[in-house]
């Protein structure tokens, strides 16, 4: 159980690093789908080994919401976006280095949790938290709406993974709230992006610069 959960969380982190590394949009989207499917695998592994039926349902919902619906919406948003060349002065080497630093930070921040944990899955918690931290960094440094959304979704995947590892499934209403939340956010983002595109002929949110002071 420990090994399986660790391995899945580790693979999730590797995919997060690949998302940081890859610059092209379709590749990033595919990686996000892979990460979501890994999350579903993690949920069902923990569900089977800890005998939590609820987690199998959660895994199924992850596959549907994050593996099918959200990628479809994202593809719709991203259709027609040119593949962005790497911005000068921001090589992916340096961003990867920053991501590596965040992994270390995740281990340091989660020390109280790992030292308290007697759960067999406790060791994998910092890995999930590192995913969340890197996602947050992607979200904050994202240069357009797609970058922001993708970063947010990776962040959310990390936190969700952490929740599974730390609690073996939250009460149903919370799980439902989380899924509804992510889905609605992505849909609202789409509506916003459509409007930005109409107003500015671009989804570059750097152009949203009217409000100051």
């Amino acid at each position: 159980m420990t090994t399986a959960a660790n391995l899945l969380a580790f693979l999730g982190l590797v995919i997060t690093l690949l998302i940081v590394w890859r610059q092209s949009w379709p590749a990033r989207l595919r990686l996000f789908v892979a990460q979501s499917l890994l999350l579903a695998a993690l949920a069902s592994t923990v569900g089977v080994l800890a005998q939590r039926r609820g987690l199998l349902l959660v895994a199924a919902v992850v596959v549907v919401v994050k593996g099918l619906i959200i990628p479809r919406v994202l593809a719709r948003i991203g259709a027609g976006t040119a593949v962005r060349p790497v911005a000068p002065g921001r090589s992916s080497g340096i961003t990867l280095l920053v991501a590596g630093g965040l992994v270390v930070a995740a281990y340091v921040i989660m020390l109280p949790v790992t030292s308290a944990a007697e759960l067999p899955t406790g060791r994998a918690i910092p890995l999930a938290f590192a995913m969340a931290l890197i996602g947050l960094a992607l979200c904050v440094t994202g240069r357009d709406a797609l970058g922001h959304i993708l970063g947010f979704l990776v962040f959310e995947n990390g936190i969700f993974g952490l929740a599974i590892l730390a609690t073996y499934g939250l009460p149903g209403i919370v799980e439902a709230g989380v899924f509804l939340d992510v889905l609605v956010i992505v849909l609202i983002m789409e509506a916003v992006v459509v409007q930005v595109r109409r107003e500015h002929d671009s989804i570059d949110v750097d152009r949203l610069r009217e409000l100051r002071g």
């Binding site: 109280p112 949790v113 944990a117 979200c139 939250l170 009460p171 709230g177 939340d181 956010i185 949203l208």
Partner: protein, 477 residues
């Protein structure tokens, strides 16, 4: 039952008015708002007369702290609702009314549940329900504001989720699976046995997360944009009660952290964020060229003061903080309502464009002046009393340095606000406004809120002191 009815009213109001148009929509809106207010006050009175209200096996629960927030939400929602038809008359009504009541519903739900997880879901719901209201006018600026609002608050609320997960984790780690449906009431009983370091880490995430919704600096960056671009009734709701719902969420966790973590841990964080918020607001109140943004930064300042009161603690600080939440809700909501009328008359939210307001719109100008004097914290209005309580607690608890610094920043902030208000009321006139809305109807909500502020400032009505005592007993068990 009563609690359930309170939640069903705005929800069914939202559902019924989803397709309603014209007069029917306005009538439904008015009925829903009035019923919500009556329900909220009924719950508040019942809880303060007897025991907490409980429904669904404790899933919904309203104690004195909930009742305080419920009453505030009801009152501010009624104030904002009274202005909504006037606002909607200028634009296409669209989904304004249903979203308005949905927004009120999510806030009521957040403060009337005993379930840690459901509260999180409801607070998240407040963002989703209000984001379209912020972008209601569909201008470039409101689009930008709603984008920022959605993104920053979603990240914030996800961080609060992380904190909630860690609280669950601490509970399960110590007490096994029976704590799986985590309730405040159980959590408080278990708190002394929870792992202190995990709870401390969780509290940091919770403060950052819910603090984003509360508009605490440095997580406040969405706030001035959203508050200034949203329609006036929505700004009133957001500034008056949405921010306080964020504070409420933090406040619910505080007794747990006080029992589980090192002494003074929660206090240190709250004091630091409180001082920082007042400092940020003090700087921006001087430089803001837009009066709605000015009001928004004033909210950051007052939420900072509330945080300081909670941080100083003791019965006096806690009661002062809660009273300040109420006073600020009343004063700021009418401030935003009046700013909406000013904006409608002049067609601009720039301070420079509305100079000479006092001469050109005497009724609105006088009301605006009264609301601003209340916000500045002058007697005879209630904010003066609650600020005296907060700072009295600071000095009494021995935080002379923190209280002193905050007091200096407060003076700077107030001078900034006064400076802006002076420019609006007596500055050189630039434009000729449209005809002022006058008569008793638009004056009524403003007069009602000012009267309530006079009550909290001069003569507490019977029951107010008791209500605050009951809350203190909850927050400082």
């Amino acid at each position: 039952m009563m609690l359930l009815a309170l939640l069903v009213i705005p929800l069914s109001g939202a559902a019924l008015s989803w397709r309603a148009v014209g007069r029917r929509a306005t009538a439904l809106h008015t009925v829903t708002a009035v019923l919500t207010l009556m329900g909220a006050l009924a719950v508040a009175v019942t809880v303060n007369r007897g025991e907490p209200l409980v429904a669904f096996d404790g899933f919904l629960r309203a104690d004195a702290l909930s009742a305080w927030m419920i009453a505030l939400i009801g009152i501010v929602a009624a104030l904002a609702a009274s202005e909504a038809p006037r606002y909607v008359a200028h634009t296409a009504p669209g989904r304004f009314y249903p979203l308005f009541h949905l927004f009120v519903f999510t806030m009521l739900l957040a403060v009337s549940t005993d379930d840690v997880g459901l509260m999180w879901v409801a607070v998240e719901g407040t963002t989703l329900a209000s984001v379209f209201l912020v972008n209601f006018e569909r201008t470039r600026a409101s689009l930008e504001a709603s984008y920022k609002y959605l993104l920053i608050c979603s990240v914030g609320i996800a961080i609060a989720f992380l904190g909630t997960v860690l609280v669950y984790f601490a509970g399960i780690e110590q007490f096994g699976d029976e704590v799986h449906d985590l309730r405040w009431t159980t959590l408080l009983l278990l708190a002394p046995g929870l792992s202190p370091r995990v709870i401390e880490l969780a509290f940091v995430f919770l403060v950052v997360g819910y603090g984003t919704k509360a508009g605490l600096a440095p997580m406040h960056t969405w706030l001035p944009d959203a508050h200034s671009e949203a329609p006036a009734p929505v700004s009133a709701l957001m500034s008056g009660v949405l921010l306080s719902v964020g504070v409420y969420a933090i406040l619910r966790f505080k007794p747990v952290v006080d029992a589980a973590a090192r002494p003074g841990f929660a206090r240190g964080i709250l004091l630091a964020l409180g001082v920082l918020s007042v400092a940020v607001a003090a700087a921006f109140l001087w430089t803001s060229p837009n009066y709605k943004r000015m009001l928004a930064y004033s909210s950051v300042e007052h939420i900072g003061l509330v945080c300081l009161g909670l941080g100083f603690g003791g019965a006096l600080g806690t009661a002062g903080a809660l009273l300040h939440v109420a006073n600020h809700a009343l004063a700021k909501s009418i401030g935003f309502l009046l700013s909406g009328r000013i904006r409608a008359a002049y067609g601009s939210a720039e301070i420079a464009a509305v100079g000479g307001l006092m001469r050109q719109m005497p009724q609105t100008g006088t009301a605006f002046l009264a609301a601003m004097l209340a916000l500045i914290g002058l007697p005879p209005f209630g904010l003066f009393v609650s600020e005296v309580m907060i700072f009295g607690a600071g000095f009494a608890q021995g935080f002379r340095a923190v209280a002193g610094v905050a007091l200096v920043l407060l003076v700077i902030a107030f001078a900034g606000l006064l400076h802006g208000v002076h420019a609006i009321l007596y500055g050189p006139p630039v434009r000729e406004p449209a005809v002022e809305v006058s008569g008793w109807r638009p004056a009524l909500p403003v007069a009602a809120a000012l009267a309530l502020l006079l009550l909290t400032g001069l003569a507490w009505p019977p029951g107010l002191g008791d209500a605050l005592d009951r809350i203190v007993a909850i927050v400082l068990p």
